[in-house]
Symmetry: C2
Subunit: 244 residues, 2 copies
């Protein structure tokens, strides 16, 4: 019974965004259907395939369904800064499509499935459903909040703290979207990706990660992470989960 109900549900609206929105506002069947209507086009990309390019007009709005993606920019000196990481259920490119030009690039970190949303259709749906409009505004607000946290992380935390803080955030967000399996989280980021997110050098990132392992706070294999002592890690990185 449960299963059937769930299947019907997910056949209407893909799981990640469904879970996300339902935590923000509870939607009527009509509203859910409207969202589902936006998400009919899927696209599968492999690591590194930019789907938004800095300086170009974005061609769509993207919803991450499976896998991870990052927003990033490259300085004239060729250094890369990753601004944030988008997990399943996160929307990428909405605000760029408002301005008409992307001010960052976006790419998947691993094999990733995206829903491709037509901007015009998106604004139609928002206009027609005020409750959805509000829900998506809140999603945008949490994006903003995440960026502000990134600012603190880069500006005022030490290398060790940044890593502890960042891993805490990833862990916490993964818990929220139920992406922890058997106590492990898939972590499709290289250490280079992590350093480019945290404004550190690769070598230093590597050493700090090792130190966290040595201290028994985390376990880290190839592409999986396990946070052993989430409390201690959060305290070390001065991390507190965002409201919402």
């Amino acid at each position: 019974m449960e299963d059937i109900a769930e299947m019907i549900m997910t056949s209407r609206m893909p799981a990640p965004i469904q879970a996300r929105l339902s935590r923000i506002a509870d939607l009527t069947a009509t509203e859910e259907a409207a969202v589902a209507g936006l998400l009919r086009n899927r696209m599968s990309l492999k690591r590194g395939a930019d789907f938004i390019k800095d300086g170009k007009p974005p061609s769509a709005i993207y919803l991450v369904e499976k896998g991870w993606a990052v927003r990033y920019a490259i300085t004239t000196e060729g250094k890369r800064q990753i601004m944030n990481v988008a997990l399943p259920g996160d929307l990428v490119g909405y605000h760029c499509s408002l301005i008409g030009v992307a001010h960052y690039s976006a790419m998947p970190l691993s094999e990733t499935v995206l829903s491709v949303i037509e901007p015009a259709q998106f604004s139609e749906v928002l206009a027609a459903h005020p409750k959805l409009s509000r829900a998506f505004s809140r999603l945008a607000a949490s994006d903003l909040a995440g960026l502000r946290v990134q600012t603190i992380r880069l500006g005022r935390l030490t290398a060790e703290q940044r890593i502890a803080h960042f891993l805490s955030e990833l862990w916490h967000r993964s818990v929220r979207i139920e992406a922890i399996r058997d106590g492990w989280m898939m972590l499709p980021m290289t250490q280079t990706d992590i350093s480019d997110t945290l404004g550190l050098s690769l070598v230093h990132t590597n050493r700090q990660l090792q130190s966290l392992k040595r201290d028994g706070l985390i376990l880290l294999k190839r592409d999986r992470l396990r946070v052993v002592d989430a409390g201690a890690l959060a305290r070390l990185g001065d991390y507190s989960p965002l409201a919402l």
Copy 2:
């Protein structure tokens, strides 16, 4: 004649936001009046008087009319990180009011005049005027863009570059809002404020500023800044003005 026309104009909608919105979309008289209706309550605050407090539900949305304000947070170690600076025409607290809790504090850097907007009234107006709604969404988008730029600045620029980049941004934004008088810009920030924005120590900030003065890129007095060679400063800081 000009003066009278201008006075009528400003009696409808205060100058800073008027200029801002009109660059984004051209509004009808009705829409302008709707905005003006939101901005009837003014408030004057002195430096340091928090009008948004981290962790508390924000009581209103604020529009900076005169003076500068900053969004900031304090780490558990007591370090302050300023996330961004709000100049006249900038909106503060909109997204916090959506979430219902502020994830930063905000305070004026100097004697500052704010318009206090009732959140409920604000969303009513947005609901009633789709064009305004879109215009404010774009404002929000440029906020986001500014934060992303701050991320790059903190993560991948050297101290010298950060300062050059930041001063370039302030200068450019001041030009946009016509706040340059006789080639000088009011800069109501202490060097401590600047260091807390750029994630630097006070001492280092001071030395880098002096170096920019020595190199003839800027002139800096007590509370005024003059950018002598905007091109060189921008190049040094890898700054490029945001679209919009």
